[in-house]
């Protein structure tokens, strides 16, 4: 009988119930999309911030000291092989604990070459280097994404797979030397001499505008340092630093075992650096503070902003839902009065109304979740060109929110109705 009554109410008052379900649907979709975006915005903004380039640099121990301070040049500098990193160890970067957070990296080797009688810095690196990792992961790494602020004024980015003797020229250098795309240039060092083809001219807005960029192989051949690299730039997704990370960055050994584990298993820039040092022999990895610190600040602000907007929209949708629920219960005063007049207990009436509304709420909420999913994806694709990662934890949050809101929205109305005398209600006061 109870279910028959519920069913009867649901179908007889179709219009009204559809309206309640629709409002709940809107509220649920708003909650779903906002919560998902809020939870994912950190990752998405982090990805966007990668346009600032690498946030970790890896250099050989003592490299800078030996080269810069003693100003070794020519013969001597080339003989200090200890001041290099090994190229064949590069793949190991993708084997560390936080390997998944390393989105891009590129090795560098530079040498001074003679170009038409003037000394020019030539840098060898990766552009669109394809890596097949032992873990089965495929990755395209290199400058194309690590130097996203370079604008190619002529020609295009070097295609590492296709070009044998390509070189990219900085805008200022190209102007000085009158170089164009397709030109052949001869660069020579003490060790070797090579003829290279200009494939692109870039404008970087910094020192690189006066340099040449070519592949790692060519630069190694010119500097007679086969299999060696002088630095690595790593772009990693990191967690903003806190007290623990600062303490650990100074000396990881000063931490207690528990703190050490927390630190090691959190994607702080300092713990990723530490893990890189563990796998690359003779390397010092340090966070580029300019990038690392600012990333932290911006991500934190964005997340906070989204949290506050989410709270506002949750409050908004909660009020909207409870409003309508209250209104719809109040409307049925006559029906409830009649039920009471023919002897229904207060408990039975409350249970009846609540069941009706809860069923409506569940239907509305379920559809609302999928509508919200749609909204979140539309926003994700429009803004970040990527799908928003839907967190399963959002489902229980939205479900609880909807149930609590409908419950508390209907209880006060039911109570006022029950307190009235059936005769008064039926008479219409």
């Amino acid at each position: 009988m109870f279910f028959r009554m519920v069913k009867g109410a649901l179908f007889r008052q179709k219009g009204k119930m559809v309206m309640i379900a629709f409002t709940i649907l809107l509220g649920a979709s708003l909650a779903t999309s906002m919560l998902n975006i809020m939870l994912d915005v950190g990752d998405k903004v982090n990805q966007e911030l990668k346009t600032y380039g690498a946030n970790i640099t890896v250099v050989p121990k003592q490299n800078s000291v030996i080269e810069d301070i003693y100003e070794l040049e020519g013969d001597d500098a080339d003989d200090i092989k200890s001041a290099y990193l090994q190229e064949d160890e590069l793949g190991k970067i993708k084997t560390i604990f936080w390997a998944f957070n390393i989105v891009d990296f590129a090795p560098f080797i530079d040498t001074t070459v003679d170009l038409n009688g003037s000394d020019v810095k030539l840098v060898g690196s990766w552009y669109n280097h394809h890596l097949s990792l032992p873990t089965g992961e495929e990755l395209d790494a290199g400058l194309t994404s690590l130097r996203s602020w370079w604008s190619i004024t002529d020609g295009e980015w070097m295609d590492e797979q296709a070009s044998e003797d390509g070189v990219m020229v900085g805008a200022i250098l190209a102007k000085e030397q009158g170089l164009k795309v397709g030109d052949k240039v001869t660069v020579s060092t003490r060790h070797a001499s090579k003829e290279l083809t200009v494939e692109g001219i870039y404008d970087s807005g910094d020192d690189a505008d006066e340099q040449l960029y070519t592949t790692l192989d060519i630069a190694q051949e010119l500097s007679d340092s086969d299999g060696l690299i002088s630095s690595i730039e790593v772009s990693a997704l990191t967690t903003p630093d806190n007290e623990l990370a600062r303490k650990a960055a100074k000396d990881p050994n000063s931490l207690s075992i528990e703190d050490y584990e927390t630190w090691y298993c959190t994607a702080y820039a300092s713990s990723i650096c530490y893990q890189i040092q563990e796998v690359i022999t003779g390397a010092v990895a340090s966070p580029v503070r300019q990038v690392a610190e600012s990333e932290g600040a911006i991500m934190e602000k964005t997340r906070l902003l989204m949290i506050l907007i989410t709270i506002l929209s949750l409050v908004g949708s909660a009020l909207g839902i409870s409003n309508l629920v209250t209104a719809s219960v109040m409307e049925r005063s006559k029906e409830l009065g009649l039920l009471k007049a023919i002897g229904a207990k207060d408990g039975a009436i409350t249970a009846l109304v609540l069941t009706e509304i809860m069923i409506t709420a569940l239907v509305g909420g379920a559809i609302g979740y999928f509508v919200g999913y749609g909204f979140a994806q539309i926003i994700g694709h429009t803004v970040f060109d990527a799908a928003i990662n839907m967190k399963p934890m959002v489902i229980p949050i939205v479900a609880i929110l909807i149930l609590v809101v409908t419950f508390f929205g209907s209880i006060p109305a039911i109570r006022t109705l029950l307190r009235m005398k059936p005769a008064e209600v039926l008479h219409g006061r």
Binding site: W149, G205, E293, N323, L324
Partner: protein, 393 residues
Amino acid sequence: MTKRKMFFRMITASLIRRRSRMFVALLAIAVGATILCGLVTIYYDVPKQMGEQFRSYGANMIFVASAESEVLTEDSMKEALSYIKDDQLVGVSPYRYETVSVNEQPIIVAGTDIAGVQKTSPYWYIDGEWPAASGEVLVGEETADLLSVKVGDRLTMTYSQQAMENPDQPAETDAAAAEGAITKDYTVVGTLDTGGNEEEYIFMSLEDIAAQTGDSGRVDVAELSVSASQDELNAYVEKITDKVPAVTPRLVKRVTQSETTVLSKLQALVLLVTIVVLLLMMICVATTMMAVVTERRKEIGLRKALGASNRSIVQEFMGESVMLGAVGGLIGSFLGFAFAQAVSVNVFNSTITFRPLLVPIAIIAAMAVTGLASLVPIRSATEVDPALVLKGE
């Protein structure tokens, strides 16, 4: 006159008599208007506030000497700075680099405006203190390692014009040192960790470096942190190139380009979120209004039975809804400002200015939504035969 008076009386009376129901509707409208106002304010405020956050990436413009002037003087730098709006200039730090010898080792010292550096390079991580008084220096970590000095130690620097011109022959003998070489003592008050090549330098104030080298008024480069959009920055570059021939301004592309990319994404995000939230809130307000009006079908029927024309009924009910919308919109626009202010203070630690234009916009929007939402049920109620409605269908 009396007719209009009666009209208002009926509207206000019905609003006051049905206090609790109207309160519920008003609440819904006010929340909708709050969201409209709050989010729109935030949307317009995000680029400015976030732009300031992005300044933590450091300088986005540099001044160097132009080809014809060769040296950048402090005076020409100040002249160029006068073209940049004060409220957009976050900080400026002139740099002057010189090579000195410390313990017979050549080291680069940079003279700068210490207060300016803290603004243009907020990411510098100092162990110890920033130099405050004359004779205090900040030592880059690598140099500190090399010289094995730590905070609190003293350093002796020797600068000699002649020695620097022949770096292969450092001023070793006393005789050479005596010839125009200036030797001074400094206290290390902090070490610097940046992860960049700043770690190889020693930083001191411009006055100290002037005293050390014996000449002043000259800088090598000035770093500027300007909180402006890419277009505005380009305009500044053109203007300064044009007006101050001694200075060549350049944009730090890495910072400006990336900032534009990320900032436009963030603004698009807030915009889309605002649109979605507003759309849903509008529908929410509309359904509430519909429920409120539908409830009163009986009243409509009664009025019709008493001889009221459809027109006057629609007018009266619309008047009621629109008035509700206006009050809700007014309340909401102030609550919305309060919300935006709270967000700004909590997230960005700064206040925002009140946008008076948003108040009429919120009120009109609220009136339009409530009016349109009630029009549909009122219309359908007036079309029904009064007898049917009164009988209870």
